[in-house]
């Protein structure tokens, strides 16, 4: 249930209200100061920060019955190409937090927003007019769990990496590895074999 402040409820219920409900967007691009914009036609000061009046649009939340994570498109004006610069400096426009907040223009002294939604930018594209961020759920929701596949005769570790741990001399002698238990034994490294030979398998088992 949405909890509004008492002041916001009073404003919301007015037949002729005198306050706007601007949406504040904070885009936290890595390595850059947060981009703080609002969809008002003048700058706002809220929570000690200036929110720049900047054209942007929010689509409706996209939900489906196919088990997909809900997403919403945020289109920010790209006419002046200011935010495009920040995105290019950050090496793209994905995997950073975007926070949407709704406040009341008559109660900007209340530092708790009336509505706050946290998203992760899952994709980004732009043209001459708009930068379109697709905002979705946290990356935890899209992460594979368990992280690795458990295979009987296949080591998931990077050959020569920290988990594999073979010495440089061994790697020089054997530049490549087929990731099997037999190959690991050949390198006297089977104690670090990352596969799961104990997984039952019907019939006779022999590592290649």
């Amino acid at each position: 249930m949405l909890n509004l402040s008492a002041a916001a409820i009073l404003e919301k219920n007015k037949v002729a209200g005198d306050s706007a409900w601007p949406v504040l967007v904070e885009i936290q691009i890595p390595g850059q100061d947060p981009v703080r914009v609002c969809n008002n036609n003048e700058n706002l000061t809220w929570d000690g920060n200036t929110w720049i009046a900047f054209p942007f649009e929010l689509d409706e939340m996209q939900e489906s019955g196919r088990g997909e994570i809900p997403s919403v498109a945020l289109r920010v004006s790209n006419v002046t190409q200011e935010i495009q610069y920040y995105i290019e400096q950050a090496g793209g426009g994905v995997d950073f937090p975007v926070i949407l907040r709704v406040v009341n223009s008559k109660h900007l002294d209340i530092t708790t927003p009336e509505l706050e939604l946290d998203f992760i930018c899952t994709s980004c594209k732009y043209d001459a007019y708009w930068i379109t961020f697709t905002l979705g759920g946290d990356a935890k929701l899209t992460r594979r769990i368990p992280e690795r596949r458990y295979l009987k005769d296949f080591c998931p570790f990077q050959y020569g990496g920290i988990e594999c741990g073979i010495p440089a001399s061994t790697k020089a002698a054997y530049p490549t590895c087929a990731k099997t238990l037999a190959q690991c034994r050949q390198r006297s490294n089977s104690t670090r074999f990352g596969g799961e030979p104990g997984i039952p398998l019907g019939g006779f088992y022999a590592s290649a």
């Binding site: 007015k14 306050s19 601007p22 008002n40």
Partner: protein, 119 residues
């Protein structure tokens, strides 16, 4: 910031329009609920010169094409209704018509109309 060029003042009347930021929602009960969508009410002005001199027109044309680059760049303009300096841009293309050719004792004249909007 660029300034409005030094040309003759526009003629009266000067039309001043306000944008309406109100959102309206009519109810079955017969009343209407309203609230502002934005916190500022920007204005637009329509200016007309029924007989602008050719010198002024050349100055205006240079300003429109070179300084303001059409409606791209904002500039400072002294609003005649309250005398305050406003940051404005061209809201639409100016309309200019030549109304008198140069002849003995008569300079070339233009009828010009522009619309400025508050940035």
């Amino acid at each position: 910031m660029a300034n409005w060029p030094n040309i003759a003042n526009p003629s009266l009347p000067i039309s001043e329009k306000y944008a309406d930021p109100a959102l309206r929602s009519k109810s079955d009960g017969g009343y209407t609920m309203t609230r502002p969508r934005y916190t500022r009410v920007p204005r637009t002005w329509e200016l007309k010169w029924p007989a602008m001199s050719h010198t002024d027109y050349q100055t205006f044309s240079t300003f429109y094409t070179g300084t303001a680059i059409g409606g791209s760049v904002s500039f400072a303009w002294a609003c005649p209704t309250d005398g305050a300096s406003k940051t404005v841009r061209f809201a639409s293309e100016p309309k200019a018509e030549i109304i008198a050719w140069t002849s003995a004792g008569n300079p070339r004249l233009w009828a010009v109309g522009v619309t400025l909007e508050e940035v």
